[in-house]
Structure formats: structure tokens, C-alpha cells
């Protein structure tokens, strides 16, 4: 841990830091993030909660360099993502695993090819790649699916394959975008449990974006609520659970009526 902390101080590896980030699409009034700032420490599990349209998915695109903010800094694994060269960006991507909302598995590839996709330029034989895929699939509780196509799996299985792919090259940082959306409560808990296990077994820094409070309480060391483009409240799951902020209370209790603006209107 001391070594990890030193590495963090020296080069910021395994950390995420957003500093006064402003993002928008279109005109002056269409700001999505308005001075968004937070940081995630090495080995920490940070959960971002927020309503639909709060800019959570845009945040994922910022973190992986698919979008650039108007201003502010996005530092992931010690790299200034918006200003990185393509080469630096791809090198950084090798230290980041991303679990997409719907798995984003490649339709035309089998499950084992999907899981080991990021390892295919390492000169490993197919036999070796299959062995790695089987091992990673076992970690997420899947067996005997190596030769199937993504279309032959259920939504929950696809998410688990997505997670196996995200951890295949043992990343320093794991980013999960709505990992439990569209799943039944049991499968949601299974996915949350898996993310927790990955964090504990592999020691990865985890950033999870969700609006599933059960999952957020389970996964998070800290939870930050994204509201109107910035972090409205941040704290441990217990601090969020007992927050007196009326907007946080409305969100975590899932009430339709309250001070929270929904799609620009007050509910």
C-alpha cells in the first residue's frame, strides 16, 4: 500500500482526478458539467449517482478521451486525457478497463475472442488466449460459454462477459457505466458482488456510475451525487444515506415530488 501511495504521489497512476470540468453540447446554455470536480484515490471504489440526463454517461466519454471538456482537467492514471496524443491515450487505455452499460460486446466475435480482444497484439497463441479467457470468465462465474456468440447470452451474462473483458489485462482502473441497469435484483446484486470482488482481489481503483442505490451502497467506499453538472454531495455510503440535503434525500428515496429538477423542471 505504501508503494501504491508513493506511485500515486509520483505519477498519479491508478487515480482519477477531475478539476473544474465544464462540458457542453451546442449553445451557451447547454452545459452538461458546470465545474465538475472530484478525485478517486488508488484502490478506492467511488460511485457516482445521479438522475437520467445528469451527464453520467458523458462523464465516461470524458474519462476515456472520446470527448473533451470546454475547460478543466481530466487526469486519469496520471495522464491529462484531453491533451494526450493518440499514442499516449492508447497506452493509458491499457491500464483502464471499461464495463459498458449494455456490455458492448463485439457481435461477430465469440465470447473468448471478446474477452481476450485487448490481448491479441501480445503475440500469444490462440490456446494461451483461450486459457486466459476461461480463467477470466471463471472469475465472473461463467463456464462453458467460450465458443458462444454474444447474441446467445442473456443480458446478465453479457454484462459478466463485459466485466471479464474489462479485467482481462488486469487494469489499474475499472470504470463501470450503469453496471446493473436492466437487470433483475438478484442479477444486479451478483454484478455488484463481482465488482466488489474485482476491487478486493485485483486491488483496482473503481469508478462506478449508477442510479441503483442498492448497488451504490454495496460497491462504494465513497458516493458522489452528480446534480446540475457538479458534485452536489459526497461522502461514505452512511453519510449519503443520512444526508439532510433535500435533493439527495429525494433521489435516494426515489420520490417523484421534491426540489429536484427533472429535465429542467421542478417536480
Amino acid at each position: 500500500m505504501a508503494d501504491a501511495a508513493r506511485a500515486e504521489i509520483i505519477n498519479g497512476s491508478g487515480t482519477i482526478r477531475l478539476d473544474n470540468v465544464w462540458t457542453r453540447f451546442g449553445g451557451e446554455e447547454s452545459w452538461i458539467h458546470r465545474g465538475l470536480s472530484f478525485d478517486v484515490r488508488v484502490g478506492e471504489s467511488f460511485v457516482i449517482i445521479g438522475g437520467s440526463g445528469a451527464g453520467k454517461s458523458v462523464l465516461v466519454k470524458l474519462l476515456i478521451g472520446l470527448l473533451a471538456p470546454e475547460r478543466g482537467n481530466v487526469i486519469v492514471d496520471g495522464i491529462d486525457i484531453p491533451h494526450a496524443t493518440k499514442g499516449d491515450l492508447y497506452r493509458t487505455m491499457k491500464h483502464i478497463g471499461v464495463l459498458f452499460q449494455f456490455g458492448a460486446l463485439f457481435d461477430s466475435l465469440t465470447i473468448w475472442e471478446n474477452v481476450t480482444f485487448g490481448l491479441q497484439d501480445r503475440g500469444l497463441s490462440d490456446r494461451e488466449l483461450r486459457r486466459i479467457a476461461t480463467e477470466k470468465l471463471k472469475m465472473v462465474g461463467l463456464r462453458g460459454v467460450e465458443d458462444r456468440l454474444p447474441s446467445q447470452l442473456s443480458g446478465g451474462m453479457r454484462k459478466r462477459v463485459g466485466l471479464a473483458r474489462a479485467i482481462a489485462y488486469e487494469p489499474d482502473i475499472l470504470i463501470c457505466d450503469e453496471p446493473t441497469s436492466g437487470l433483475d435484483p438478484v442479477m444486479s446484486d451478483t454484478i455488484s458482488e463481482l465488482i466488489l470482488q474485482m476491487k478486493e482481489r485485483l486491488g483496482v481503483t473503481t469508478l462506478t456510475i449508477t442510479h441503483d442505490m442498492t448497488s451504490a451502497y454495496k460497491i462504494g467506499d465513497r458516493i458522489g451525487m452528480l446534480y446540475e453538472g457538479r458534485i452536489l454531495a459526497c461522502g461514505t455510503p452512511e453519510e449519503i444515506r443520512t444526508s439532510s440535503d433535500p435533493i439527495v434525500r429525494q433521489f435516494i428515496e426515489g420520490r417523484a415530488l421534491g426540489p429536484m429538477s427533472i429535465g429542467g423542471e421542478e417536480a
Binding site: 492508447y90 471499461v98 452499460q101 449494455f102 458492448a104 485487448g118
Partner: protein, 269 residues
Amino acid sequence: MESGPEFLGSMWVRMAWISSIGRYGVDSVARYGRVLLMLVDTVRCTPQRPLRFHLFLHQCLHVGVYSVPVVLVTGAFTGAVLALQTASAFRLFGAENLVATVVALSMTRELGPVLTGIMVAGRVGSAMAAELGTMRVTEQIDALHTLATNPVKYLIVPRVWAATVMLPCLVIFSDLLGIMAGRFIMVDVLGNSPVAYYKRTVQFLDFEDIQIGLIKAALFGLSLALIGCYQGYSVRGGAREVGFAVNRAVVSSIGMIFVINYLVTAYFF
């Protein structure tokens, strides 16, 4: 002279028309500009490692081999119709023996490349737009990026070069089938001499004619794959936008085939 609210209203309608035409023109130029930028990116990415030659071969199979049946049917029936039409016209002034020359030159210089290009644009250009568009809306292209893989290198480079290489090969098949179908009509149906048909075919057909057709085919392949890939790659939204992208890919690439056909013909004229 007109005045008042009615005049202002009609002026407003006219201005709106002019403005929408102008906007369409600007958008079109911008779109083709972005297609050209994608070509630059494709060329730049091509030599980068890993080369992934197997992806190129896989695309050659899809673009080339699987298009052979449709191209053979198109080439054969075009050659047959061309022979019948020219034979009925040339018979009027006793020039039936020139039908072979007309079929050979028309197929190699114009009809072979253009019709093959159109068929492949419909079959392959649309499939490229649909596949890449679906990959975009299901975040598969974003996933490629997070797996440290350049999506242009992985998806677009093999498709563009496979279409550029395979179109000329398909055109050779189309030309041959067209000429053979013309021979079938003239010799087996209309009873002309096979030797005369052969002689008239090779007498006026230069290597340059075939070469021009193949150059056109390569350019058609390049443009239809680039447009198909661009339309799919730049999809934003959902299934509806993928449908629009497929539609635009086919219409734009067929339009581009006619433009390129004219430009190459004019260049070698």
C-alpha cells in the same frame, strides 16, 4: 409594386427556400470533406502495426467472393441485352458484324465497371453502413477505443482496401460474362459466325480499354467503401439513424460512382 404583410410573407418563404438550399450545399460539402479526412486517416493508419492482414482477407471474402453471383448475373444479362439491341439497330445498315466490338468496348469501358459498382454499392456499401452504424449505437466502437484499438485501423482500413482491390476483380468477371453473353446471342441465337465474333472482339479492344475500366472500378470500390464506412461510423442516435445512414450510403455512393465515371472518362478522352 407589392407591399404589406403578404409581400413580406412571400419574401420570407423565398428566403427560407434559398437558405435551406444553401444549408444543404454547405452540409454536403462538409460531409464530403469529412469523407476525405477519413480517407487521409485510412491511408495514415494502413502501415501501422499490427497489420491484421486477416481482417483484409475476411473483407475480400465479403466484398469480392460473395458478390460474384450477383455481378455475374448483371454482367451476363447486360451483355445479352446490349447484343440484342445493337444487333437490331445495326442490321438496318448491314453492320451486324460490329456488334461484337460494341459489346466488348461498352462492357469493358462503361457498363461492366458502372453496373458492378452500383450492385456492390447496394450490397456491400449498405452492409458496411449498417454494421458500423449498429456498432456505433451499441457502443462497440467506443469499446474498441477502450481496448487500445484504433477503430479506423480495425474497421475502416480493411473494408476500404478490400473494396478497392476486389472491385476490379469483379469487373473482370462482369466483362467476361458480358462478352460471352453477347457471343451467345450473336452466334447461338442469331446464327452469326463465332470466328467473326471473336475477331471483331479482339480487333478493336485494346489493353487500355480494359485498364480504364479497372481504374474506374478501383475508384468506385474506394469511394463506395469510404462513403459506407463514413455514414455508419458517424451515426449518432439509435436504430432510426442507422436506417438513414444506410439509405444515405447507397444513394451517395451511387451518385459518386456516376461522378467518378464521368471524370475518369473525361480524363482519358
